[in-house]
């Protein structure tokens, strides 16, 4: 079975802390994505990676960075967490840019 695993389901952090969200896929997919999900706004793309060490900004990259050192792992980094980054974060991967997206279960981050 296809699997995208997000390391933390729930996190609570304080303003100014550095936050790492990890995502691992076991499907040898080239493409990996980080989305942010907020009520009434659907999903918005933060960053996209199409290969190891390659990344592209999505629609809302401000305040975030990413790292892809290995094909199976894509990390989202909040250098200095702020309360407006409280949200659900979803990682996804796909074999091709128009193939099926496979999602992880999400990481709900609360920044106090």
């Amino acid at each position: 079975d296809v699997k995208v695993t997000q390391s933390s389901r729930y996190l609570v952090k304080r303003t100014g802390e550095k936050v790492f969200l990890e995502c691992v896929q076991d499907m040898d997919h080239e493409n990996m994505f980080w989305y942010r999900q907020d009520p009434g706004l659907g999903l918005r793309l933060i960053y996209f990676s199409y290969d190891v060490k390659m990344k592209e900004k999505g629609d809302i990259p401000e305040g975030y960075s990413v790292s892809r050192e290995k094909k199976e792992r894509f990390s989202l980094i909040l250098e200095s967490a702020s309360t407006n980054q409280t949200s659900m974060y979803l990682c996804a991967s796909s074999f091709s840019v128009t193939g099926e997206l496979f999602f992880g279960e999400g990481s709900r981050l609360t920044v106090l």
């Binding site: 995208v4 493409n31 659907g42 996804a92 999602f103």
Partner: protein, 115 residues
């Protein structure tokens, strides 16, 4: 600007009733169209997709969707809803020849099912 609209934020239906969830998009050319479902506490799962060809698309869990170019719509339907269908449903669109870095999601429709 390109957009995807799901006009209904919440819908409640009785178990066994039929269901239609609406989705409209604003693009010049026919885009790639998707419906995803998110069960409580879960990630999103692909229900069905339309790239070209037959405008009536069958998906998993008994869902289907119809692409209507003239109305710029891609509505999701199910003839008889089960309690397990309670979830949030997202329509998503990629402009023709675009990739997932261009994928745009609607705001979602939350479905509640009464016994």
């Amino acid at each position: 600007a390109q957009s995807v609209t799901q006009p209904d934020i919440h819908i409640t239906v009785s178990e066994g009733a039929s269901l239609e969830l609406r989705c409209n998009y604003s693009y010049g050319a026919t885009p790639y169209l998707f419906w995803y479902v998110q069960s409580p506490g879960q990630g999103l799962q692909l229900l069905l997709k339309y790239f070209s060809g037959d405008t009536l698309v069958q998906g998993i869990k008994g869902f289907e969707a119809e692409f209507k170019r003239s109305q710029s719509s891609f509505n999701l339907r199910k003839p008889s809803v089960h309690w397990s269908d309670a979830a949030e449903y997202f329509c998503a669109v990629v402009p023709y020849s675009g990739g997932y870095n261009k994928l745009i999601f609607g705001a979602g429709t939350r479905l509640a099912v009464h016994p």
